[in-house]
């Protein structure tokens, strides 16, 4: 894992960032074409944070995020096909069409899920870190949350536990300035969010979340501390959300077009592209990347389109573990109309 990525690395990282940008643009298009439903939260504008944090993680490190998770999944290496298929609610989605946009996961890559309840993932991440310690593993957990989530009680209880028990977890606060329509200073009495770590004698720091190298360096350092010294930390990555809170939100009721434009001038992708050119990358090389990314996303859409729907009689799939059918066998008599067909006969723990 490179602290200051060499040009070749930088090209790869640029490609990952671009993949996220293009994927999200496509996701929005597909949502409006009604091929994606539910809530759909895009990471556009936050690519440097997604890619930088993941780049700094080791292969064995674990990841937990909120619902704005496409960028992290893609950066972590989950295929665009598996992600898009999940957004389409198809069988080949990374959660087999059960979770959708908010609930991506990829346990093979240590990604333990996108979660939908603000702050709800923090206690879980603390528990993952506790399990790592109990198992004597030298791994760390990255727990992503938003600026709005720092006002939930779960933040407080989780940080206290992590610090008290010296758990290897880095709480990554993605500060994109707003929780839905609420600006940070309207929600947090301490708007410099990383400073809240001190209430637990925990280290906290902020990083310019649109500066890829800075994100990589800070994350790598804090993850090392977590792994080696079992010191948890808070890392606040300051970035900006280009699109609305979700695809359903125009995103203009609480901020101005000017504000958005201003941030887009400092676009994280443009910054990396500029540095690549300085480092001698040719326009062709970059154009090539553009094309490759466009194709991958097109492929993802094709794959998702062709992937089959989950079979309806697997409605209760995996709700319970193997063997639970037997436990539920005797719940049938007098069961509400339809429940038997829908749940029991369809099978519970298949």
């Amino acid at each position: 894992m490179a602290i200051a990525p060499a040009k070749t690395d930088l090209l790869e990282l640029y490609e990952q960032m671009l993949l996220i940008r293009v994927f999200e643009t496509e996701a929005e298009r597909q949502y409006k074409a009604a091929r994606i439903g539910g809530y759909c939260h895009l990471s556009s504008g936050q690519e440097a944070t997604c890619v930088g944090v993941i780049e700094a993680m080791q292969e064995e490190d674990l990841l937990v995020t909120g619902y704005r998770s496409h960028g992290f999944a893609l950066a972590r290496g989950t295929s665009p096909e598996a992600v898009m298929a999940e957004l389409f609610g198809k069988k080949d989605g990374c959660a087999h069409g059960r979770g959708g946009s908010m609930h991506l996961l990829d346990t093979e890559r240590g990604y333990y899920g996108g979660w939908g309840i603000v702050g709800g993932q923090l206690p879980l991440a603390t528990g993952l870190a506790l399990a790592l310690v109990r198992q004597g593993k030298r791994q760390a957990v990255v727990c992503e949350l938003g600026d709005g989530a720092v006002n939930m009680g779960a933040w407080h209880e989780s940080l206290n536990l992590a610090a008290l028990w010296k758990l290897p977890v880095v709480f990554l606060v993605v500060n994109n300035r707003y929780g839905m329509g609420t600006a940070v200073k309207r929600a947090s009495a301490e708007p410099e969010l990383y400073k809240r770590a001190s209430a637990y004698r925990m280290h906290g720091e902020a990083v310019e979340g649109d500066e890829l190298e800075a994100v990589i360096a800070a994350t790598a350092r804090l993850l090392d501390r977590a792994r080696e010294e079992r010191e948890p930390a808070v890392l606040e990555a300051n970035t900006y959300r280009y699109r609305g809170h979700s695809v359903a939100d125009a995103g203009l009721a609480y901020r101005t077009r000017e504000e958005i434009a201003e941030h887009q001038e400092r676009d994280p992708l443009l910054r990396v592209a500029a540095r690549l050119r300085d480092a001698g990358a040719s326009t062709d090389a970059l154009r090539e990347i553009d094309q490759r990314v466009e194709e991958r996303v097109e492929q993802a859409v094709m794959f998702a389109t062709e992937s089959p729907d989950p079979d309806v009689d697997s409605l209760a799939w995996a709700m319970y573990s193997q063997g639970s059918d037997e436990q539920f066998e005797r719940m049938r008599p007098g069961s509400p109309f339809g429940e038997q067909e829908l749940v029991f006969d369809g099978g519970l723990g298949k």
């Binding site: 439903g37 539910g38 809530y39 999940e86 609610g89 198809k90 959660a95 069409g97 059960r98 979770g99 959708g100 908010m102 609930h103 979660w115 939908g116 309840i117 603000v118 702050g119 709800g120 709005g148 989530a149 006002n151 939930m152 009680g153 779960a154 929780g179 839905m180 329509g181 609420t182 309207r186 929600a187 947090s188 009721a253 609480y254 729907d309 989950p310 309806v312 697997s314 409605l315 209760a316 709700m319 007098g334 069961s335 509400p336 109309f337 339809g338 429940e339 829908l342 749940v343």
Partner: protein, 342 residues
């Protein structure tokens, strides 16, 4: 009654009805009550600047200011509890929770604080708190965002729970809740927000808590439901009438606590058959209580067992085809009616 109230009474009340959405009816109720009583204020996430995640409070912050339409951080336990405390001092907080799912993080304040105050302190303090929040599923919001815990609150002594199923009741029940001296949970519903209906404009139009409504008369079977299930039931009833000549009576509960068993029992005594429908999971749900009450109160009247339809008992999956299969669709309800009649 506050000074504001006294004053308001003198204006000539608007009369007649106007066709509007459920969402607009709720907004009208809020505007009227904010105007009538200065103790009333709104508190919740995105109710102000953002104008409400579902736009129920749109325009109210501009009209009444940031003190009376108060945006909060994402801290349900904190601001629900703040509502409880403010109510203890005689304020009339109307707390919005974005969806019922998020009330889980504030459960302790609702169940173990708001609901306890009157009795536990021997009547020395009251808690005139209103919590507004939608239940419901059907837009692929997936397992964490598609739940209806209505029965949990309805089973809690100290709380009152109302569940309007149409715009007129939305206005009337929300106003009744705001004027009530006890904590009232107003369970709205996502799919109904856009439904239209005629709404009385009279600012004194209040729907009494604890009174069900016969939403459709019929003689063959009684369908008992609340919230969005009532909308489904009414469609099914019309369809069965025109296609099969089956006349189903639909009883819309409107309140879950108090529960108007009397109206339900009267209807079943007439039709001799009952089907209970809910959006949530039926096992240990609202329809369990209904089936238990009906089976007892109408023991000698029933020609067939009371049937129940609700959401399939699974964490609601995302995929559209799975979600549809899990919902208490009109088809599933219609089939249930036929099976009860056969």
């Amino acid at each position: 009654m506050s000074a504001a109230t006294e004053h308001r009474q003198q204006d000539a009340p608007a009369t007649g009805t106007e066709r509007m959405t459920y969402r607009e009816a709720l907004r009208l109720a809020l505007r009227e009550e904010l105007t009538r009583d200065e103790r009333v204020f709104i508190m919740g996430e995105e109710v102000g600047v953002f104008e409400g995640s579902y736009k129920v409070t749109a325009g109210l912050m501009a009209e009444f200011g940031a003190d009376r339409v108060r945006d909060t951080p994402i801290s349900e336990e904190g601001f629900v509890g703040a509502g409880v405390g403010a109510a203890m001092l005689g304020e009339r907080p109307v707390v919005e929770i974005m969806t019922l799912n998020f009330l889980l993080v504030a459960m302790d304040q609702v169940i173990n604080h708001a609901a306890k105050i009157g009795a536990m302190f021997g009547g020395e303090v009251r808690c005139p708190l209103v919590i507004r929040t939608p239940n419901g599923a059907g837009n692929q919001l997936t397992a964490q965002h598609s739940q209806s815990f209505d029965g949990w609150f309805a089973g809690t002594p100290g709380l009152k729970v109302v569940t309007p199923a149409n715009p007129a009741d939305a206005k009337g029940l929300l106003k009744a809740a705001i004027r009530d001296d006890d904590p009232v949970l107003v369970i709205e519903n996502l799919p109904i927000y856009k439904e239209k209906g005629d709404v009385p404009l009279d600012p004194e139009h209040v729907v009494p808590i604890g009174r069900a409504a016969v939403a459709r008369e019929g003689s063959d079977i009684t369908i008992v439901s609340h919230s969005f299930a009532t909308v489904r039931a009414l469609h099914v009833a019309e369809k069965l009438a025109s296609e099969k000549g089956i006349e189903a009576e639909v009883v819309d509960l409107r309140s879950l606590r108090p529960l108007d068993v009397e109206t339900v029992a009267q209807s079943v005594a007439k039709t001799n058959r009952a089907l209970c429908v809910e959006e949530g999971w039926p096992s240990y749900g609202v329809t369990a209580e209904l089936a238990a009450r009906i089976s007892k109160a109408c023991f000698d009247d029933l020609d067939a067992p009371v049937e129940r339809v609700g959401m399939a008992e699974v964490p609601l999956p995302y995929a559209k085809n799975l979600e549809s299969a899990a919902m208490p669709t009109e088809d599933r309800i219609a089939n249930a009616v036929l099976s009860v009649l056969s």
